[in-house]
Symmetry: C2
Subunit: 243 residues, 2 copies
DNA sequence: CGCACCTTTGACTGGCCTCAAGAGACGTGG
DNA sequence: CCACGTCTCTTGAGGCCAGTCAAAGGTGCG
């Protein structure tokens, strides 16, 4: 389940300037270092379950994790896709509200909950950053609602690809080869994509095949997707291009 | 569009202890009073549009407002249902991201944005409360995602009714007549409900008729809905009853 | 009364789900 | 090296739920 527990300096941290600690001064970082530890989880393994007691909150350092809800008859809906710098957990709450799963190999920077909450109360830089990040997540959730409620299967797939492409560009992954094209690493199985989009895995597979057939995407293996022309993909999302 | 602009004391405010100002001390309230003003909007009228310049942020004092997104081909998805004490606007952002509409007659307590942001930076009580409220909204958004992505039309309707019932109970409206029954005032047209749930208004109408036919709800007029047995309604939501 | 708006109901269509089978990738062990 | 099992993904056939199109009923207001 958990693989390693190491400690590492914040100085060389890849998410130093995007995570919850982004606005901290060096003395505040030092205090954070005292309550933090690293954990890694293997792809496909659970990180924690809904209802679990939360002894920590954490930042995603590397990899991707998912938040999801499951109804008792098995229907599952993903409600969060956590990429590097995203925050796991809710200060002030002792139990996890969703299932958290490692979609790919994940490295977490964990903070013990109690001392973190104490710091949150005394360090405005952390609270301010957390508020900003939460507002961003709320915006993302609302964009997601439009996808779930109103978009067709094809538009859903295109929207997911463009969202991941946008995030990977922001983090500096997704090496852009040519001018307008790029390749993204999609850390999700077909089933996880279906859970994200409110579809079945068969429909996901069919739509990806269709996009491939039409040359809008090119598959390299199952999980690496080349987008030769980002504008062409965007035209499939149903979002206004105003072109 | 805007009907009245009056000022009113915080002391007698019905949302004093639930809104963004909930944790403020009396001196902080006095400062808030200086930058606040009331506005009312008639049912059905827009409060502002996506892209509008935001000169204020606000709390909903009375009535209900909706946040919604519209695609250029007209498909609309509601992404927020704002009831008394909910917050409108995002500190640090100058334009509104969504269309805001008065679902019923709405009274807003508006704060001029610039001075509010200044207070936010200097008054921890406000930022803390806003973080908590934003986290609550994020949870609500995620519950909503499950509804949009995985529930059937009937389950969606039942879920909406139970959500509104829960909120009205929390605020202290929704006079409970008997033991387990209650009556709720649904401030939404069929079309607004459809936009909330990712359905068409025809499907909403059909499902409400079905619930009425089966005695799970009783209509008094179009907008007032009696729920004789809350447990019976809950059983229609698809959520675990573990009964 | 006449009009506007919201709602209800019906008939039909279609997109996605369900059920099912098979293909491809990968690791294990004989 | 290949048989075998497992896991993921693909593809096909058919059915159903919700969408679409259409018309009529209700309610409130000038």
């Amino acid at each position: 389940m958990m693989d390693t527990t190491v400690r590492q300096s914040c100085d060389s941290c890849p998410i130093r300037h995007r995570a919850v600690c982004a606005r901290c001064e060096s003395d505040e970082l030092q205090e954070l270092e005292r309550i933090k530890y690293y954990r890694t989880h293997e792809a496909g393994h659970p990180i924690c379950w809904a209802g679990d007691d939360m002894t920590f909150v954490a930042s995603v350092v590397k990899g991707a994790a998912t938040l999801s809800q499951t109804m008792e008859d098995g229907r599952t809906q993903m409600v969060g896709l956590l990429l590097p710098s995203d925050f796991i957990g809710r200060p002030g709450r002792t139990t996890m509200a969703y299932d958290v799963t490692a979609a790919s190999d994940v490295t977490l920077c964990c903070f013990r909950r109690k001392p973190f909450e104490k710091m949150l109360a005394t360090t405005p830089h952390i609270g301010e950053r957390l508020l900003d990040m939460t507002l961003d997540e709320l915006d993302a959730a609302r964009e997601w609602m439009l996808i779930l409620g109103r978009k067709t299967a094809r538009e859903k797939i295109a929207s997911l690809l463009s969202i991941v492409a946008r995030r990977e560009l922001a983090i500096g992954m997704g090496f852009t080869g040519a001018s307008k094209g790029m390749t993204i690493d999609l850390p999700l199985t077909r089933e996880a994509m279906a859970d994200y989009l409110g579809l079945t895995l068969e429909t996901v597979s069919r739509q990806i095949s269709a996009l491939k057939r039409e040359g809008i995407i090119v598959l390299h293996g199952k999980r690496q997707i080349e987008i030769p022309d980002m504008a062409a993909l965007m035209r499939q999302t149903g979002d206004e291009v105003t072109a």
